[in-house]
Structures are given as structure tokens and as C-alpha cells.
């Protein structure tokens, strides 16, 4: 792209050169001058000019203009309220009108201290009211969902929230109703705002109208300790600020990384933190006693653990969750590989470096012309933020083609690799379009990827490595699958496979709930689990050690772009950090384990990450350069599995609002996956199933009752349901009326 033309504008007597077409608010900011705004928020689309706070005088124009919606022109002479009496009058008028009906409840308002209206009235307000009538009084606050409260009296009708709902999330669930002074923000009747990105409106609202119910009356913004961290719940790794007070997390806010999240968060990332304080969380070590699990102190627990490892030397197996940090995975890997002479691991999923040459920032989606999503598993459930980027891309004019069981191009579950091959073929129509386009991005959301090699092969055929702004990304099932694999590999290079499992070490709740791990546990002589909740492991582990959450951890993760990002945990945790006791364990086992996360990272980096330093990652981590594209052996596409149990293939996916972090937050219960099963109209018709009716799903003698939802986009022969409700079923099922 060519460098944009520069124009010169004069704002309050200061000359600045800015790119042509830039908005006045930004141009003024470049000149160090603030034009106050309420409704303006560039991430919500073009300026709407609603609040009239940004009025400025422009020489040659008789009327005041809105700074937010006026682009600069060469030679423009602008006076803000700081140098124009007319503009100052306009602004003070707007302030007066906004405050006419605004309640004086700042002392009990959660927004106090970070409220744009409070700040601007302090600076521009008159300090007294001329309003001699009763202020508007409305019921307050009303819940618009279990997580968000709306106080309509405080609302200044800037329409940021409704624009978010309409223009960004495109869920159209939060809208304005009525007209004029009766206008108000509302959901439909009393239905909750269910959109999975709803929480963003609490940050967008410039006043205390939309607030988080979890945060209500918890603290004042100036009392916080802040940590610049990243969310550890999915492979996007949205940048967040974790705010805590007296060692307790009070809320999680977005921390705009323009290449990753643009300042948006999904509701799982925003509202899950109360899991930390769930009564069911394990805070002390437990050992299987005669009848149940009994608590023991750390000294005893470490003693016991060291003994278990020593006794099982050469026969230890490590099962790692994809949610562990590189550091924790590396420390555990060292203990197992170097301390116990064992090299068997269960990794969360298959990974490879084949896609590295095709890395692009997630933000490149917004500029793409063509996007193809191989969507065996819904993108929203794997990497929610990408769904917002895909919407943005479509609004920007991109062609988004989804290939999968309910895609624009319908393909059976598990046929993504075949579809990939077809696109690579010369005559394929979509393939031709992709070759012709400048900026193409391929996404793979689902299993059977062979670590991304199928996708990499297609990307190479299409020459995406040579097209700027093009790339291919794999959406792993867990937040740091790739990093965990790298950490394991960096801790040793031997391959000693135990004949018998003397000890199974299960790290993380995700691994603990994996059926494969569970099977291993049955064969293991002993098991130890590091988990947040007793949940699954409580039933079979001999020793359960309390784990910390991603919100409490220091460390790094590699997200789906390959970006290494730092977790900087909030201070204070009811649980001892893993590293603090792993170091003691390492001493007992004679393993040299550095005593801090930073030192662990340095060692790991020297081994496996080209020696990159933590400081190079910074607060907003860059996407580091990558190697050249190369050809490689493309694995055979997997054969579609033979269905056992029934004629319909059950597609089971891990729903966004599932997993131990979500399940321990009561406010998120309304978002938990509906007890539904999607079925195609053909299959429903054949079985006489009506939309919304109860159906029995069965296989191999197991049966569950779910509600049928007819999905016209779904390929016949497939049914789809959240894993939460179908864990006991086989892949082949039959669905029938009860």
C-alpha cells in the first residue's frame, strides 16, 4: 500500500500534519488536544454524531461541526472548546442536557472514578442545575442477563451498546425501543442478552448504565492492583487486564491488542473469574484414604509425591492439558524425563510446525478478500473471538466460505482433509478464486488436521506464503497445545517407553476429564492429579494437588497464531504456586530446576525458542518472524470411521460455555449449552421429529433425552450436540421419538 497523502490542519493554533481523511478527534489528539466524546468509538463503525459532545468550530462553516464525524481537509482551521467560545457554549449545552435527567447517584455507582460523564462534567459542567422539574425516574437496575444490569436512569443514549450488538456482534439482541425522550435500551421482553460477547457493552458504556452484576458494589477503580495478562481459556489469547483488590480478582477487562482482539472479549473470558473462589475448588492437597479423600499438608504431600515418583522411576507417564503454560509443562517434563527417567507423555492434541510459514496476525482476517473455514467444529466454540473477526471481514467485503457439516459447502464431519485436497486441484472453482485473490486466509477448526499439515499443503499449493496478508491458521482445541508440546520436547530427547505405568501424573482439569487419560489411570499403579476442582480426578487419583488458574499464573502461552504471550497473574491466590513446590520436588529428585518462571523460560527459550527473551514479548506481544515454507510429506487423509452404534453420526463439540471454569460460575449457568441436538430436516422428517420436541438419542445401550433442533443447514446423516450432554454416547447414534 502506498503511504497516505498528508494534509496540514490547524487546531487551536497548533499545526499538525496528518493523513488525509483522518477524523478531527484523532487529528486533535495528534496535536495533543482532547476533543471530548461520548458516542464516538471507532471500533463500532462510522461515527454517528449522536451525543454532540465533540462540537468544534471550523472556520468557514457557520454551524458547529462534530469532531467525531468530520474528516480533516488540507488547510482546515479548527477551534475546539478550548479556543472557541461558540464551541465551548455548544459543549456546555450538551453537558447540561445530558445531566438534566441524570441521577445524582455517583456515590453508589460502580462507574464512579472511571465514568466519562463524571469526568467531563467535572471539567465542562456548570456545577449546578437549572432543571426545576422532577428527574425522570425509572426502575433500576433491571437485569438484562444474569451477568449484566441496566440502570436506565443513568443511560445517556449514546447507542454504543446497541451499535455493538448490531454492528460488531451482529446479534441484534440489545436494541433501542421507543422514540425521543422515551427511548431506552432493551432486550426483547424479559429475555436475557445471550450473545456470547455481551459483556463488552459493560466496557463500552461510558456511564454506569450497563454494569457487571458480578462486580456490583465490589470496589472502586482506584483501589485496584492491575495485571496485564492474557486470557487462558482458548487459543486466541485475548489480552486482558486482571484487576484485584486484597488479593482477590474483582474483574477482567479487555486490554486491546489490535492484532489479536481489538479490545473485545468473549463472555467466558470476562465472566469466568469467580471460579477462583468457588467452594468446590481444591486449596489443599488430598490423599485417598480408607474411605474418601483426606486433606494433608504440603510437607506430607511432597513427601508422598517424591516417594511415588521414586518408586515408579522409569515408569512414569505424564498427561498434560493444553491449558498449561510453557513453563509449567517444561518443569513437569523435566521432572518426569530427567528426574524419573521416563519419556512417555499424553499431549492434548497432535501438533506440527507445518503451518509456521503461513502465520498471519488474526487481524489480517479483517483485510482478507477470501476466507475459507474448514469447520468441523464451530469456530465460535473453539476460538470465539475469531467469529467477531469473521463478521468484521464480511462487513469489509470478504467472501467467507465455510466448509463442514453445516457449511456453505456441506461436507461430512471428518472430510475436511479431502475438501482441502479438492481445493488444491486445478479445476476447482473455489480454488481458482483463491488463486486469483490477493489476500486469502484459511482456517481449520476441528480435528483430524494432522497438526495442520493438510492445511499447510493447500496453503503451499495456493502460494499463500508469497502473498502478503495471506495465511493459514489452525484452531487447536486447547489454549496452548503447541506450547505444551514444545515444552515437552525441550525437556529431553530420549524415548524410553515404560512397559508398565507405575505412576500417572495428570496435569490440569482438561487432561483429567479426557477419557483416554482416565483409561490410563485405570492401568496405572498410582496416579496424581493437579487440578482446580476435584471433579473427575477425585474419583480415581491417589493424590490430588491443588492447581492454580490461568488468572493466577506467571508464564507464557503460544496462541493459535503462534504468538508467544505472557500471563501475568493477579497477585494472591488461595493456592500455592506450582513452581514453588516443584522446585522442592526437583531438589529431592536431583533435577536442576530454575526457581522462577522467568528463569525457566530463559532455559526453555535457549533450548527451543531461538533464545528469545521475555522482554521481547512485551505487554502486547508481537508475532515473531518465521521460517520459509517447505514441501513435506502430506499424510493420507484419514478414512471416515466406521460408525458403530447407530446410523447417524454424532458430532460432539466442546461448547463455548463449558469446562470447569464456566461450570463453577452460577451467573453463567444460563449460557450453558442447551440440552439440544441438531438434526437435518430430512432426518427429522423421516423419524417424524418436530422442531423443539423431545427425542431419545441412543447407542450401545446408552440413551439420553434431548430436545431436537432442526437445522436446515446440517448435512443429512449427521447430528450435532454439545459434548456435555453426550459424553456417554458412541459416534453412531439413532435418534427417535420417545
Amino acid at each position: 500500500m502506498s503511504t497516505p497523502e498528508l494534509v496540514t490542519v490547524t487546531i487551536d493554533g497548533r499545526q499538525v500534519q496528518v493523513p488525509k481523511g483522518m477524523g478531527l478527534v484523532e487529528a486533535a489528539a495528534a496535536a495533543g488536544i482532547e476533543i471530548p466524546v461520548f458516542c464516538y468509538e471507532p471500533r463500532l463503525g462510522p461515527a454517528v454524531g449522536a451525543c454532540r459532545m465533540c462540537l468544534v468550530e471550523i472556520e468557514g462553516m457557520p454551524k458547529l461541526q462534530t469532531g467525531c464525524s468530520t474528516p480533516v481537509a488540507d488547510g482546515m482551521v479548527v477551534h475546539t472548546a478550548q479556543s472557541s467560545e461558540q464551541a465551548a457554549r455548544g459543549q456546555s449545552a450538551t453537558m447540561e442536557f445530558l445531566l438534566l435527567n441524570h441521577p445524582l447517584d455517583c456515590p453508589v455507582c460502580d462507574k464512579g472514578g472511571e465514568c466519562a460523564l463524571q469526568d467531563l462534567s467535572f471539567r465542562y459542567g456548570q456545577g449546578k442545575t437549572r432543571m426545576t422539574f422532577h428527574k425522570r425516574s425509572l426502575e433500576k437496575p433491571v437485569p438484562i442477563s444474569p451477568t449484566i444490569a441496566l440502570d436506565r436512569e443513568r443511560c445517556i443514549l449514546c447507542y454504543r451498546c446497541t451499535r455493538f450488538s448490531q454492528e460488531v456482534a451482529e446479534d441484534e439482541e440489545l436494541t433501542a425501543v421507543n422514540r425521543g425522550a422515551l427511548s431506552m435500551i432493551s432486550t426483547f421482553e424479559n429475555e436475557p442478552y445471550r450473545g456470547p460477547f455481551s459483556g463488552n457493552v459493560t466496557e463500552l458504556c461510558p456511564v454506569g448504565a450497563l454494569t457487571s452484576t458480578q462486580y456490583r458494589f465490589k470496589a472502586r477503580p482506584w483501589e485496584y492492583e492491575q495485571a496485564a495478562s492474557v486470557c487462558g481459556l482458548c487459543p486466541v489469547g485475548c489480552n486482558v487486564t486482571v484487576q484485584s483488590r486484597e488479593g482477590k480478582v474483582q474483574r477482567v477487562l479487555s486490554r486491546n491488542h489490535p492484532e489479536v482482539d481489538r479490545g473485545w472479549l468473549c463472555d467466558k473470558g470476562r465472566f469466568s473469574y469467580p471460579h477462583l473462589y468457588s467452594e468446590e475448588r481444591i486449596v489443599t492437597p488430598r490423599r485417598r484414604g480408607a474411605r474418601a479423600l483426606e486433606e494433608l499438608d504440603w510437607e506430607q504431600a511432597l513427601e508422598e509425591l517424591a516417594g511415588m515418583v521414586e518408586r515408579a522411576s522409569g515408569g512414569v507417564v505424564l498427561a498434560l492439558s493444553g491449558s498449561e503454560t510453557l513453563e509449567l509443562a517444561y518443569a513437569l517434563a523435566k521432572i518426569v524425563r530427567q528426574g524419573a527417567g521416563s519419556d512417555r507423555v499424553v499431549l492434548p492434541e497432535q501438533t506440527s510446525d507445518a503451518l509456521d510459514p503461513f502465520r498471519v496476525p488474526i487481524a489480517a482476517l479483517a483485510e482478507a478478500e477470501e476466507i475459507v473455514v474448514f469447520e468441523d467444529c464451530p469456530v465460535l466454540d473453539r476460538a470465539p473471538l475469531l467469529e467477531l473477526w469473521l463478521k468484521q471481514a464480511r462487513r469489509n467485503g470478504a467472501q467467507v466460505t465455510r466448509i463442514g457439516p453445516s457449511g456453505d459447502i456441506q461436507r461430512a464431519h471428518g472430510e475436511a482433509a479431502l475438501a482441502c485436497r479438492e481445493l488444491a486441484e486445478k479445476g476447482n472453482a473455489l480454488g481458482k478464486r483463491l488463486r486469483a485473490a490477493e489476500r486469502v486466509i484459511l482456517l481449520w477448526s476441528g480435528g483430524g488436521s494432522a497438526g495442520g499439515t493438510h492445511l499447510a499443503a493447500l496453503a503451499l499449493t495456493l502460494g499463500l506464503n508469497e502473498k502478503k496478508g495471506s495465511g493459514a491458521l489452525l484452531l487447536p482445541a486447547s489454549p496452548n497445545a503447541r506450547g505444551v508440546a514444545e515444552a515437552w520436547a525441550a525437556a529431553g530427547d530420549e524415548d524410553r517407553q515404560p512397559k508398565q505405568i507405575g505412576l500417572l501424573i495428570v496435569s490440569g482439569d482438561e487432561a483429567a476429564s479426557d477419557p483416554q487419560v482416565r483409561q490410563l489411570a485405570e492401568h496405572a499403579r498410582a496416579t496424581v492429579a493437579l487440578t482446580l476442582f476435584a471433579g473427575d480426578s477425585g474419583e480415581w487419583a491417589d493424590l490430588v494437588l491443588p492447581a492454580t488458574s490461568y488468572l493466577e499464573r506467571e508464564g507464557t502461552m503460544r496462541n493459535l497464531e503462534g504468538r508467544l504471550q505472557r500471563l501475568r497473574g493477579a497477585t494472591g491466590s488461595p493456592v500455592r504456586s506450582e513452581l514453588s513446590w516443584l522446585v522442592e520436588l526437583a531438589v529431592r529428585l536431583g533435577v536442576a530446576l530454575p526457581g522462577s518462571e522467568a528463569a525457566l523460560f530463559a532455559e526453555l527459550s535457549a533450548q527451543a525458542l531461538d533464545g528469545i527473551s521475555l522482554s521481547a514479548l512485551g505487554e502486547r506481544a508481537p508475532l515473531l518472524p518465521h521460517g520459509e515454507a517447505r514441501t513435506f510429506e502430506i499424510p493420507e487423509a484419514e478414512e471416515p470411521p466406521i460408525l458403530l452404534g447407530g446410523p447417524l453420526e454424532l458430532i460432539r463439540y466442546r461448547a463455548l460455555f463449558s469446562g470447569p471454569e464456566v461450570e463453577h460460575v452460577p451467573e453463567l449457568a444460563f449460557q450453558r449449552p442447551a440440552t439440544e441436538i441438531e438434526i437435518s430436516p430430512e432426518d427429522a422428517d423421516r423419524r417424524g421429529i418436530a422442531d423443539g420436541s423431545d427425542v431419545v438419542v441412543r447407542s450401545n445401550g446408552t440413551r439420553v433425552t434431548l430436545r431436537a433442533r432442526i437445522n436446515a443447514a446440517l448435512l443429512p446423516g449427521m447430528v450435532r450436540a454439545a459434548a456435555t450432554h453426550t459424553s456417554e454416547l458412541a459416534r453412531g447414534v439413532e435418534v427417535s421419538r420417545p
Binding site: A47, V48, G49, A50, C51, R52, M53, L55, K63, L64, T66, S69, R89, G90, A93, T94, E96, F97, L98, L100, N101, R130, M131, T132, F133, H134, K135, R136, S137, L138, I156, L157, Y159, A176, N178, R179, G180, A181, L182, S183
Partner: protein, 443 residues
């Protein structure tokens, strides 16, 4: 100027009734201009319109030819071009577009086809206010007839509104037509470049478009000779209020109020005295009885301190209480404010509360000053002219009739309550707001 001598253009041929039937319209020379326009081609048609000097009849008075020439040529834009006709007519006092639709619908259709041809539009839309049910049926019937006769080369879609004055504002109209809440857009960009579905769009008033066939018939230059310089052509004046014969009268620009009210309207009803004139629809500042000889053209009206607006003349006799009138009209603006921008949404409501307090005799002198200051704080700060209009007219009522406002304050009530023609008048605001949002005055 005697009214018999003035040319009738927009309503030509319908003097005695209507030209709803295609056959009748044809007999009056209908659709000849369309044929003529096809021969002239896009550029020449725009040139004629420019030369005619016609200014928009919707209220703002922007020259139509100039607006049409802002529309990019089809080869310069990737988007389709649209023509939108504004038939939302909801301005208190205005009922001329309805007259055109109901009496000469084909002239409107013909005008749409010519204008669409001029800007090389792909499709036309007509946005008719929802309340004009009969009008929309008459138009739809005429359209069907014209379509059947092969006269509609560029398709026309009839879109009925659903009751919101603001949808007459052109960008709010576009939003409404796109299926959104009818809230005005921030300009620029102007609809000529980014209009309906973000495509280049020409928006004109019904009367403007219905004049186009006559411009083509007479030629732009000949048309420009009618009326006065800067205000060419005829105008459909909507006359209402306390006159003997209310109605629409087509007269050339430059005709005086006196000619309209006395010659056409038969004077003030019941032999009463003229008190004031609302000259161009409710949104234009009021004029005193002494201004009755002002010619109705753009320049003279501005000199008189008001606007020709939608040429809707409301005659007010000496019984009316001007505070009541200001209040009733303010209730209209408050009710019709779309709620998007702050000064209009909050300001019109505040004005209404203060005016009511004054009318009920509960206000202090300071509150009369506050009223004017609030007007001043609304004016010029709004997103669209709706809020500005309210502020402007209220200020004009106080300016012209200050003594009446002061008398309300001093006497603790309306001094003419017993005889005012407006006493007891209510508005939808009374039904919508009272009690619901706690409007009762305090203190």
C-alpha cells in the same frame, strides 16, 4: 397579481377534479414529457432542470438541478443509483403532497421516470407516510395502470411509512426505508454519494418531482420566467387555520400572503382579525399580522425573519393564545424527536415542561428567560433541523408576543383561557408521557 392569471402547472388539467385515470391524464397531455425526455437524454434533462432554477419543495429549498448533478455517472460507481421520492409529508400545516398524489398521481409517476432517467437510476422508491392510506392506494392504482401501459421503464416501489415525522428528513427516510429506526444520519457523506443501501441516491419532494414534467414541457428557460428571480415557478400553497376557504392553491412564487389569504382563502373566518401567520409550516418562525404583505419567495421571507419552508400557511386569528400554540407545537417536536442526539431529545422535552409551567401560570420571570436560553442552547447544536426548528420557533413566538408570555407569568395563568381557540387542546404527548416518566412540575 390576480389569481386567475397565474399559471397552473403541477395541478394542470385537474382544476375541476382529478386526473387519476391514465386516460384522463393522457388527454391532458400526460406522458408527453417523458417521451420528450427520452429523446433529450440524461444530460440535457439535467441541463433543463438546472436552467429552470427549481428549488426543492420539501422545505430546505436546495436547487434540484445541482443536487442531481452530484450523482455520479453509472460508470463512475460500482453501486446502483436510486431515486427516492419523499412523500412523508408530516409537517403541521402541509397537505399539498397528498393533493398531488390523490389528484395527479400520474404526473408524479411521469416526473419520477424523467428524474430517474436523468440520473440514470436503476430503481425508484416512493416513501409515503403511513397515515396516507387512501393516497397510497390511489398512487398504487395509478402505478399499476402506468406499468400496464408500459410507461414505467425504471421500476417504482411504493413504501409506506408507519407514523414518524422525522422520516421526512431525508437521511432518516433512508434509514427507515432500509428497515431501521428512522434516525437521521450524520452528514457528510450526503445521500447523493452515499444514500440508500450506501448507493448514490437522489431524494426529492413529491411536488419537486411532479413539477419536472412541466419543466421539460415548457423548457427550463421558460419555466424560470414564472415567479420571481431566485424563486422560480409556481408553488402549491397549503392554506389552513382560521380562513374561510382552506385548501391548496397553486400560485407563482412572489405572491403575497394577503393575496393568498384574502383572494384565494376568502379572508379570516367569522370576520375576525388576523393575529399572526405561520408562513411555511410549523417549523418556520411566526410572522405578525403586519407582515401580511410579504411576498412569498425565498428572499423576501428571509428578510421578514422566517422561511418559505414547505409553503404551508397557517392563519391565526385574534382568539389564539400564543403560549398555548407554542406549547402545542413544542409537544409535537418533543413527541417526534427521534431520540438520537442529545440537545433535541432532552431540549425539546425541557422546553415543553417550561412552556407548560408558563401556560399554567406557575412559572417565574426567570423561567421565561430560561426558556429562551434553552432555545439558544438547542439551536445549532442538533444533528438534524428538527430540534433547531423547535428552538427557533419558540424563540420567535416569544419575540413577537412577549407581552402574552409575560402576562401568563404575572397573572398566574392564561389571561385569555376562557376565549382562546386553543384552550383545552391536548396532544399525543399527554397520552404517552404523563404519569409514565414523572413529568409533574416540582418546586
Amino acid at each position: 397579481m390576480a389569481k386567475t392569471a397565474s399559471p397552473v402547472l403541477v395541478l394542470a388539467g385537474a382544476e375541476a377534479g382529478d386526473l387519476r385515470a391514465l386516460e384522463d391524464y393522457r388527454r391532458a397531455g400526460g406522458y408527453a414529457s417523458l417521451e420528450q425526455a427520452r429523446k433529450l437524454g440524461s444530460e440535457r434533462v439535467i441541463a433543463e432542470i438546472k436552467e429552470s432554477g427549481i428549488r426543492g419543495r420539501g422545505g430546505a429549498g436546495f436547487p434540484m438541478g445541482q443536487k442531481a448533478s452530484f450523482i455520479p455517472a453509472p460508470e463512475k460507481t460500482a453501486k446502483p443509483i436510486y431515486l427516492v421520492v419523499n412523500a412523508d409529508e408530516s409537517e403541521p400545516g402541509a397537505f399539498k403532497d397528498r393533493e398531488i398524489i390523490e389528484r395527479v398521481p400520474h404526473r408524479l409517476i411521469e416526473g419520477m421516470q424523467i428524474a430517474a432517467l436523468a440520473i440514470q437510476a436503476e430503481a425508484c422508491f416512493i416513501y409515503i407516510r403511513g397515515e396516507y392510506l387512501t393516497g397510497s392506494e390511489i398512487f398504487a392504482a395509478a402505478l399499476a395502470e402506468a406499468e400496464a401501459a408500459g410507461l414505467v421503464g425504471i421500476p417504482i416501489t411504493v413504501h409506506r411509512g408507519a407514523g414518524a415525522y422525522i422520516c421526512g428528513e431525508e437521511t432518516a427516510l433512508l434509514e427507515s426505508l432500509e428497515g431501521k429506526r428512522g434516525q437521521p444520519r450524520s452528514k457528510p457523506p450526503f445521500p447523493a454519494l452515499v444514500g440508500l443501501y450506501d448507493s448514490p441516491t437522489l431524494i426529492n419532494n413529491v411536488e419537486t418531482i411532479a413539477t419536472v414534467p412541466k419543466i421539460i414541457e415548457l423548457g427550463g428557460a421558460a419555466y424560470a420566467k414564472i415567479g420571481v428571480a431566485g424563486s422560480t415557478g409556481t408553488r402549491l400553497f397549503s392554506l389552513s387555520g382560521n380562513v374561510v376557504r382552506g385548501g391548496n392553491y397553486e400560485l407563482p412564487h412572489g405572491t403575497t400572503f394577503r393575496e393568498l389569504i384574502e383572494d384565494c382563502g376568502g379572508g379570516i373566518s367569522e370576520g375576525r382579525k388576523l393575529k399572526a401567520i405561520i408562513p411555511g409550516g410549523s417549523s418556520t418562525p411566526i410572522l405578525g399580522a403586519d407582515q401580511i404583505d410579504t411576498p412569498m419567495d425565498y428572499a423576501s421571507m428571509e428578510k421578514a425573519g422566517s422561511f418559505i419552508g414547505s409553503a404551508s400557511v397557517i392563519v391565526i386569528d385574534d382568539r389564539a393564545c400564543m403560549v398555548q400554540l407554542a406549547l402545542r407545537l413544542t409537544q409535537f417536536y418533543m413527541n417526534e424527536s427521534c431520540g438520537k442526539c442529545t440537545p433535541c431529545r432532552e431540549g425539546t422535552r425541557w422546553l415543553e415542561m417550561i412552556l407548560r409551567k408558563i401556560e399554567e401560570g406557575r412559572a417565574s420571570r426567570a423561567e421565561l428567560d430560561l426558556l429562551l436560553d434553552v432555545c439558544d442552547r438547542i439551536l445549532g447544536n442538533c444533528l438534524c433541523p428538527l430540534g433547531d426548528s423547535n428552538a427557533m420557533i419558540v424563540a420567535s413566538y416569544v419575540r413577537h408576543f412577549r407581552a402574552e408570555f409575560e402576562a401568563h407569568v404575572e397573572k398566574g395563568g392564561c389571561p385569555v383561557a376562557a376565549t382562546s381557540s386553543l384552550t383545552g387542546v391536548r396532544s399525543p404527548v399527554d397520552e404517552l408521557y404523563r404519569g409514565r416518566v414523572g413529568q409533574e412540575a416540582a418546586l
